[in-house]
Symmetry: C2
Subunit: 245 residues, 2 copies
């Protein structure tokens, strides 16, 4: 392998600046499916999840799926609050036992765990000051401000009439309001939060984003595949300050 | 003034490292009272607040109270989510109009705004990894990890039996459970979160903390006066990385 390196990579500058190219397995944990993608591949593999899925069950299913694959590191998008690389609250729609679980030991590789909306935000980022809203069963949120990622917990904050942002923009909001009024609520929340946060743009992702005919003013639509882009880029930017505290 | 300086403070090192001593007015905005304290004074002044108090009304009352005082900067503890020095969600128990309000212009001084629990956490910090819980009408939360402050939004996350942490630990939890069971819930949440976050200690502040006979294992009691200490220290640490994103 050494002989194949370009000469400049062997110099002092090369030792200092050479980027580490890790092969990464990205695992996006959702309430219906766990989606898995290996860096260098376009294929997204789905493993059914649900209320009986434990952290151990997830790892064992992912290890089974990927047993012939080669990868050096794992990124996990987790459907709940994460602090300093640890899930701190159990997931709403899965079995408990995720808090305190030793993911690096179970995968036998270094693992980075990030809130799922934050991971998708990272993959959707183009620069400047961005707020990301994930319109799914619930409402995910994260901000990136000049390259610094900040997971948010906006879902359960008060929006209007004694109801929360999630009550309006999440799946139950869509069912209660109907598509037309739900779209109006999305547009109103986008306008308010864009101004309140002082961001350049709001990116709308998540499974329900496709129900918007077009993004409201000040917003653009994210692509759910961005979760994987975010998961891969985590390992490239791990040493920079984008990785959240 | 110059003549009174010590010689070493006039040297090059002095110019580089001399701390700026600002006189700071700390304003702790609550749903019942706005509490005000000037640096160098022990006196805490109370201005009644409530559901009719706007941001403009708060500023005008504080400016009235302090019109003969000298101060260079203002710290505001805000009862709601703050991002990058801006309230991003309207307060629950006050009149709306706080989001987008120009506080530096209204005070005619530089202003730092911080979530109220985060400000109290900052004043309670002794080092290491700390989680702060503010037991009041609601449930405030913030973490400080090796000197880096991170406001939290734990209140509305799921705890147990379909209820949130705030449903158990907030005022309504206390009323529903009674003192004995509320104390048990506080102890259980402290133990869980201490482990989940991987912190060295949990500090319990807020108006209801005095109802704990003694702090549960792994916790210590904060002093509500710590909000002011936090507000003063904000301006000392403004250039360090403790100030939250």
């Amino acid at each position: 392998m050494k002989a194949k390196r370009k000469p400049m990579e062997r110099g002092a500058a090369g030792r200092q600046a050479k980027p580490v190219e890790r092969r990464v397995l990205v695992v996006d944990v959702g309430g219906t499916n766990v989606k898995v993608r290996l860096s260098g591949s376009e294929a997204v593999h789905k493993i059914p999840s649900g209320r009986k899925m434990t952290a151990e069950g997830m790892v064992s299913a992912v290890l089974g799926l990927s047993r012939k694959w080669k990868y050096d590191a794992v990124s996990i998008g987790y459907p709940g609050m994460v602090y300093r690389n640890r899930p701190v609250v159990e997931p709403m729609n899965l079995a408990p036992g995720w808090v305190g679980f030793d993911f690096p030991r179970a995968f036998q590789r270094p693992v980075m765990i990030l809130n799922d909306a934050a991971m998708q935000a990272l993959g959707s980022y183009r620069g400047g000051k961005m707020l990301f809203l994930g319109l799914g069963t619930g409402l995910g949120s994260a901000a990136i401000w000049d390259g610094v990622l900040e997971p948010m917990e906006l879902a359960h904050l008060h929006y209007r009439k004694g109801r929360t942002f999630e009550d309006y923009l999440g799946l139950r909001g869509l069912e209660r309001l109907g598509k037309r009024k739900w779209r109006e609520a999305v547009a109103d929340v986008v306008a308010r939060l864009k101004k309140a946060f002082g961001v350049d743009e709001v990116v709308l992702g998540g499974g329900q984003a496709k129900l918007l005919k077009e993004p409201p003013p000040g917003a653009r639509l994210g692509d759910n595949a961005n979760a994987f882009a975010g998961g891969f880029s985590l390992w490239k930017t791990a040493q920079s300050n984008i990785f959240p505290r």
